[in-house]
């Protein structure tokens, strides 16, 4: 309290001293800067705000340009579409034989499978079961298959390579004409046709021991339901295999079979063994 009182007293003494001094000070007059100095300072101040950067003089134009560039860039990004790769053509060139065969048989795509109702799937499963029952059972388990040598395999692989080219060309044209509503194609859709063909070939191979049964099997293939289900290429392949088996078994009828085959399939490339 005392210190505050002293402080106030101290301030008041300074203020009273300043008041008397101020009266004397005011009598000193009011010196003012020269007019030229005033003018120089004012000019300097005016120049300072006039000397804006060049781009600031066209501030509205700068903003408009920036906005236009952004809009253009944004619209370019929005309208930019990636080129759709031509999967159809690329697959037609490099598609393996297995896929081409599946196409030829008319195997439905995965989308089609997902699109089936449960009732349809059930019906298809029953049909598939019936088909398996109708197909000839593999006889490999009953009779031993004749083993082939390494040389035979090498010759067969060369022949297969030539035939695969022929098959590819034919299957392409066939795949375009496949009727998807064909019931046989639908029935074969779920099964791998390659597997079934292999089963038939294996069955033929197994029956080479009993030579008499081969024509029956081949005839059965040619006239049975499998003919309806197999494509001409598949049919030709099966026939070639059957004729090869006949020849290997020493059956003389392979020549007549081959002649018939050449008449039926004049463009089909024959394996080296049959030439």
């Amino acid at each position: 309290m005392n210190s505050i009182h002293d402080k106030d007293k101290n301030d008041s003494s300074i203020d009273s001293g300043l008041d008397s001094l101020r009266r004397s000070y005011d009598r000193l007059g009011h010196d003012e800067p020269p007019d030229l100095l005033d003018q120089a300072i004012l000019n300097s101040a005016h120049r300072a705000i006039e000397n804006k950067p060049h781009w600031m003089k066209f501030g509205w134009l700068h903003g408009l340009t920036t906005a236009a560039v952004f809009v253009l860039a944004f619209s370019l990004i929005l309208n930019q579409t990636e080129p759709v790769p031509d999967y159809e053509n690329s697959l037609q060139v490099a598609e393996p034989v297995q896929l081409l065969r599946e196409k030829a048989v008319g195997k439905p795509s995965s989308d089609d499978q997902y699109g089936d109702s449960p009732m349809e799937k059930k019906a298809q499963g029953e049909k598939r079961k019936d088909l398996r029952q109708d197909m000839p059972a593999p006889a490999a388990a009953e009779s031993p298959v004749k083993e082939t040598t390494v040389g035979d395999r090498a010759g067969q692989s060369a022949a297969k390579a030539r035939r695969s080219l022929y098959i590819q060309e034919n299957l392409k044209s066939e795949s375009e004409g496949v009727d998807k509503d064909d019931s046989a194609s639908d029935l074969m859709a779920e099964e791998s046709p390659r597997d079934e063909a292999d089963l038939v070939v294996d069955a033929l191979g197994a029956q080479t021991v009993s030579v008499e049964s081969i024509p029956a099997v081949s005839t059965g293939l040619a006239t049975g339901e499998m003919k309806k289900q197999l494509s001409p290429v598949e049919d030709a392949e099966l026939k070639i295999q059957a004729i090869l088996k006949l020849k290997q078994a020493g059956n003389a009828t392979w020549k007549t079979e081959l002649k018939t085959f050449i008449e039926d399939y004049p463009d089909y490339p024959l394996p080296d063994e049959l030439r």
Binding site: S24, D31, E32, I41, L42, I49
Partner: protein
């Protein structure tokens, strides 16, 4: 006053009315607003601000250094600094505090550059020729006061002139000079007592 002037002169054109209104607005605008307007490119705001402080700032320098030529240089230099620093100005403190702080620093720099001239003798003071209007009655006393102010130590002189010329409060003077309020009071007390003694003698 402006409203009555406008109403009493119906012959004013719209442009004249706008100019009068703008002048009234500018006159009532605070220093801080004027400085902000100038920073945004309003030259008239600077004119107004300059008109307010040209006298006090000039006298502050003139009575500090006692030499009109040096005072002119210092005065112009401070305004140049204010013009350059216009975009950095923030109205966190009164404009006068900001302006006199620049002036104070400018003056300190000047003293540092001319340290050898700081201990200026009273005999070295420029001859102040009183005009004919300035009567002989006050002439001698004014000269004594001028000489007394010049003879004060630099800090006391600076504090006293800030108080007498600008009318700043002690707290603001403390902010300008960068010392405490008590130091400002002490300097003022010493300066006032010394000047009083000079005047009495």
């Amino acid at each position: 006053m402006y409203i009555t002037a406008i109403l009493s002169n119906p012959g004013y054109s719209l442009g004249a009315l706008l100019r009068i209104g703008y002048a009234a607005f500018m006159r009532e605008a605070s220093d801080e607003k004027l400085m902000q307007r100038y920073a945004k490119g309003d030259a008239a705001a600077f004119d107004q601000l300059y008109a307010r402080y040209r006298g006090p700032l000039y006298r502050y320098f003139n009575r500090q250094v006692g030499d009109p030529a040096t005072a002119n240089d210092l005065y112009q230099g401070v305004w140049e600094k204010i013009i350059k620093a216009r975009n950095r100005y923030r109205p966190t403190a009164p404009f006068t505090v900001w302006m006199y702080r620049i002036a104070h620093n400018h003056l300190v720099d000047h003293y540092r550059r001319n340290r050898h001239d700081e201990s200026m003798e009273t005999n070295d003071l420029p001859d102040h020729q009183p005009g004919p209007v300035q009567g002989a009655m006050d002439g001698e006393q004014n000269e004594q006061l001028r000489a007394g102010i010049i003879s004060l130590p630099e800090e006391q002189r600076n504090t006293l002139l800030l108080k007498l010329e600008t009318g700043l409060k002690m707290e603001d003077i403390a902010r300008v000079t960068g010392v405490s309020r008590e130091t400002v009071k002490s300097r003022l007390r010493y300066a006032v007592n010394k000047l009083k003694r000079n005047l009495v003698e």
